[in-house]
Amino acid sequence: MRVSSNSQYLIGTYALQTQQFRMTQLQNQLSNMKRVVNPSDDPVASAQILNTSLAKGVSEQFTTNAGTVRDRLALSDSTLQQLAQVVTNMKTKAVYAGNGSLTPSDLKLIQTEFRQQVQDFVGLANTTDNSGNYMYSGTNTKLQPYVLNITNGVSIQYQGDTGRAEVQVSATRTLAVTDPGSDVFGSTSTPPPTVYLPSPPAAANTPDPNATSTGNELLQAMNRFDQILSNATAGPLPSNFATSLSAVLQGFDAGLQNIATANARVGARMAESDTLEQLGASQKVQYSVIISHLQDLDIPQTVSDFQQTLQTLQATQKTYQEVSHLSLFQYLQ
């Protein structure tokens, strides 16, 4: 085949360019330590990297959220335990008040101490978190949940709502970080509308002063305990004192039960957030591994490719130089 002088240069430059381009590609990959620098390097992998980074980010956020939930619930957990302690102390006072040998002045003393405990209780139920939000006012967190009026008997009224702040901890799972006080402690200390003793027909018209309404037993018991103490200190011990005291104790028990249930729910949610945090941590590793598989460079392979290309390039340069020196004119003198 006939070869023109230009052909020699064409072949040489084409080979040099192809190999130099391959060199820059490998060099770019090596300097970024990434196999996929631009989407065109591997279009499928680059879309997968985006999607996996998204999934990783979402998973990380859920893990962070689970941590937030746990921290917030930890605060609620310890507050609920303190509240349970206060109610237990109240109950002790009520048991002590049942001691028949107490004088009206002893009972007066008990009432003073009890009212102090009620203030402690309301103070704790009005606890705020680190952002100054009330913990037990539902979602209406700038509103003090419980208003205590102690001048004329014990009156505790709930002002919050029944909402719960929920935080997303997985794609379809939310965990509540607060519990409305109405659910945990009750919403009013006012006794229910007149309830009659269930023993017809003789007592049909006798109202039951110890009646409580479901969910409000604790607050209504506080109101009633204060009431019977007032009645007892005003004069001789009323005949129904023991019955009333027993109803009050029942109320405290129901309240303790409610607080314990709420505490158990908080504990269960803390446990769940712990589990989710651990799951999140292992998911993060998994996602990182997937991303690494998709975009990271096979270093030995690339370095060996680089060496190979370098050698080929050097060989091409050498042959180019040799061939370009060949000319008949050198021999024409």
């Binding site: 591997d42 879309a47 985006l50 959220n65 509103l143 709502d161 935080v167 409305p180 309830v195 009659y196």
Partner: protein, 805 residues
């Protein structure tokens, strides 16, 4: 004889000289682009008859030919054209590729940050720094979209510039070819004696023209070239040159296209007809890659703005205000700039793809953040749930209309506060459209289809109205309605309480005689003094305290209170994404119906323990039906869908605890200015209610957007398509599209470069100059010249020796 030797030798000298001339021309032009090596054609001269036979008389130089194969050159120009077609695309594609390549600074992480900042806010909805962080990340996302849009605009401007300069080049080459056509015609001395170097120049211009655009060349009978582009538009015909012009496209003035100018009239050449070369490459890049990328970005901007705005508008902000209350112009009450106008324009099936791109480009350019006050982020729901339904006992109310001319009728009453026992009955009179007065010291407020009567003592009664169509506006001025009780006696119920068991449905009690009563639902009634005791066979016992004496047939109702300890812990409206109404065009996303609407009223949810679901009813709109199903988005939550297509909306609520069968819950909207007092608004201000924010945030993982149709014929999904992908997956697909297009073009560029190299080799091995060959020829003809000189010298010696005789 001697002179014959002379002339023979001189002809040899001449032939060698013209060969040497040609060889030196070949050597000189070894590096000239488009040069075809030339060879001298030499013939023997006619012989001379000498008697004994013919003796030769030397050599004639016939002509100088160039080594030229028109098929090889045609192949070279078509491969050159294809090569520059892919190279042009490749260079532009790599710009796009690099632009989206660096995902560390890209839009995808910006979107992710936006949703993450909302997640952070959802755990502390009252925190102003967390709210500000949401706005900052939203601004960053908007900035990314705009930056990408600007870069795309730069690429487009760049393409326009190249289209212009390519067309200028095409015109310049065409003009030169036209000139050379004339010149060659003048210089040619018959068919065999052609000006080779001018022919080379003209062929080289055709090669260069091929680099710009694919052309077909036809040699005319007079040897001039006819050059055609597209589907036969002549660019050059002999000396006539028809120029191309760059004109803005009618569908999208932002893109330059090409038109054919002849006789002062320019006709646009469809871009599909321009194939190959730089111009074809520019058009192909624009149609396949650039338009699609711009369309994707625009669709993304529209979708984000639409779905976030819809949800944003149904919530309440930090101060329990609805979005519309914050700004005088409700149209401004948005999170992102409103792109629904563009969306509406896009839903025109007659739009061409470039026109769609022009609109979508506008969308990504106009994508902006409107909200600037962090307090305005609507984290809270606009709904609230009242779970503490207490037991009720009330007199039945009766209503009657006068001789009215309007169609409104008072159909029922509900939720009274205080004892409503007017004697004589309260008369309500219509005084104008939607305004009423009442007797007995009552004032009338109209809210939707409700009339609410209130007196100074706070006694309140709510009345439902009906008519054809429903509503207070259907009363005529002067129409009267009398509201009272049918009871003749003065007995009122003061309170009711449960003694044993649970009451799941209201009981109606009727007086049947002195001290005797009947009751519905299998209850028997015993009266002791002012106390009625209602008992059924299951031992369920209710006490009702009364005052006064009942008349014969007087009726009372006793309502049930909730038995279970459950409450609704969150309730919010779900605005959803663009509704998927069947049939083109896709409707623009209407903003979700924000309560209150004319048909909004409190919803009563009743629990069914057997099926573990709720039924929903609205006393205000009895015609509306609701479906309650488990929520697809949040585990354990329920979803209420209003089945009326026009005002249809979706709500989501979460229940805490286990309700008892028949327990009811009421969902109402939160207090709203100016109807509610400041105190009511404050009481409903649930700052840590993040249910609306969670609904916005859920958009991240919901299918909110429809994949761009592939093929490039249209960039807008057909009507009736259902959103099938998330924002980020959509963007991932856009990135993947750019990547794979760039990849394909890279591969084609490589293979075309190889093909070009090969055809160049073939063409060069045929027409190219080989210096060694020329050197050998040089020696050959030098020797021939020397030999001829020697012959002359020898002839001269012969002549001299003859003269010396």
């Amino acid at each position: 004889m001697g002179s014959a030797i002379f002339s023979t030798a001189v002809s040899g000298l001449g032939a060698a000289q013209s060969n040497l001339q040609t060889i030196s021309n070949n050597i000189s032009n070894v590096n000239t682009a488009g040069y075809h090596r030339q060879v001298v054609e030499q013939n023997e001269r006619s012989p001379f008859f000498e008697g004994f036979g013919y003796t030769g008389r030397g050599v004639d130089t016939a002509q100088v030919n160039r080594v030229y194969d028109q098929y090889l050159d045609a192949r070279l120009s078509s491969v050159t054209s294809a090569n520059s077609f892919y190279q042009t695309q490749g260079a532009l594609m790599s710009q796009l590729d690099n632009m989206v390549g660096s995902n560390a600074n890209g839009l995808s992480p910006a979107m992710q940050n936006f949703f993450q900042s909302m997640q952070t806010l959802s755990s502390t909805p009252t925190s102003i720094p967390a709210r500000q962080a949401v706005l900052n990340s939203a601004q960053a996302m908007v900035g990314q979209v705009q930056a990408m849009s600007n870069q795309l605009t730069q690429v487009r401007t760049n393409v326009n510039g190249q289209v212009q300069s390519t067309i200028d080049n095409i015109n310049a080459y065409a003009t030169q070819i036209g000139n050379l056509n004339t010149q060659i015609l003048a210089l040619s001395q018959g068919n065999s004696r052609l000006p080779n170097d001018v022919l080379d120049q003209r062929d080289q211009l055709v090669q260069k023209l091929s680099e710009m655009v694919n052309v077909s060349v036809v040699t005319q009978s007079d040897g001039s070239y006819g050059v055609f582009i597209g589907n036969g538009q002549s660019l050059v015909l002999g000396a006539t040159v028809n120029k191309l012009v760059a004109v803005p496209s009618a569908a999208d003035p932002q893109q330059l296209t090409t038109a054919y100018s002849t006789g002062g009239v320019s006709t646009v050449i469809p871009e599909t007809l321009i194939s190959g070369g730089q111009l074809g490459g520019l058009f192909a890049f624009r149609t396949t890659a650039l338009n699609r990328t711009e369309a994707d970005l625009g669709s993304l901007a529209i979708s984000i703005s639409d779905s976030v705005n819809r949800q944003y508008r149904v919530g309440r902000d930090l101060n329990n205000k609805p979005v519309t209350a914050n700004i005088s112009n409700p149209a401004l009450g948005q999170f992102f700039g409103d792109l629904s106008g563009i969306q509406t324009s896009l839903n025109n099936a007659a739009l061409t793809a470039p026109a769609q791109v022009a609109l979508l480009r506008q969308a990504s350019q106009q994508f902006s953040l409107v909200i600037n006050d962090p307090a305005l982020i609507t984290t809270a729901s606009s709904l609230k749930a009242n779970s503490s339904v207490t037991m009720t006992a009330a007199k039945l109310l009766t209503t009657s209309g006068g001789a009215n001319t309007g169609t409104m009728a008072v159909t029922a009453s509900q939720s009274t506060v205080g004892a409503f026992s007017p004697v004589p009955p309260v008369v309500v009179t219509n005084t104008g459209p939607g305004t009423f007065t009442a007797t007995g010291g009552y004032t009338v407020a109209v809210s939707g289809n409700n009339l609410t009567l209130t007196n100074a003592n706070g006694v309140t009664v709510k009345l439902l109205t009906a008519g054809a169509p429903t509503g207070p506006t259907n009363a005529n001025v002067g129409d009267t309605f009398s509201i009272g009780t049918s009871n003749t006696g003065a007995l009122t119920t003061t309170s009711a309480s449960m003694v044993a068991g649970t009451l799941t449905a209201p009981i109606t009690v009727t007086n049947t005689g002195v001290g005797t009563y009947s009751a519905t639902n299998g209850f028997t009634v015993a009266q002791v003094g002012a106390v009625l005791t209602l008992t059924n066979s299951n031992g369920v016992t209710v006490r009702v305290n009364t005052a006064g004496v009942a008349g014969l047939n007087d009726q009372f109702t006793v309502g049930a209170a909730n038995v279970g300890q459950a409450f609704i812990s969150s309730v919010s409206q779900v605005a959803g994404v663009t509704p998927t109404v069947a049939g083109p065009p896709v409707p623009p996303a209407p903003l979700g119906p924000t309560p209150p609407t004319a048909t909004w009223g409190p919803l009563t949810l009743t629990y069914n323990a057997a099926t573990q679901t709720f039924t929903a009813t609205s006393t205000v709109v009895p015609a509306t039906t609701y479906t309650v199903t488990p929520s697809p988005n949040v585990a354990g939550a329920f979803q209420v869908v209003d089945n009326t297509a026009v005002n249809g909306f979706t709500m989501q609520f979460q229940v805490s605890g286990t309700p008892a069968n028949g327990d009811t819950f009421v969902i109402d909207q939160k207090a709203l200015s100016p109807a509610a007092t400041a105190a009511q608004i404050a009481a409903d201000n649930s700052q840590t209610d993040n249910s609306n924010l969670r609904a916005i945030d859920a958009l991240q993982t919901q299918n909110t957007i429809i994949n761009t149709p592939s093929g490039g014929a249209s960039y807008v999904p057909v009507g009736g398509s259902v959103p099938n992908t998330t924002f980020q997956t959509f963007f991932g697909q856009a990135v993947s599209f750019i990547g794979s297009t760039a990849n394909t073009i890279k591969a084609s560029t490589d293979s075309q470069a190889t093909a070009l190299n090969q055809i160049k080799q073939v063409q060069q091995s045929f027409s190219g100059v080989n210096l060694d060959e020329e050197a050998a020829s040089l020696i050959k003809f030098q020797q021939a010249y020397q030999a001829s000189s020697k012959v002359i010298q020898m002839a001269q010696q012969i002549f001299n020796s003859l003269l010396q005789l």
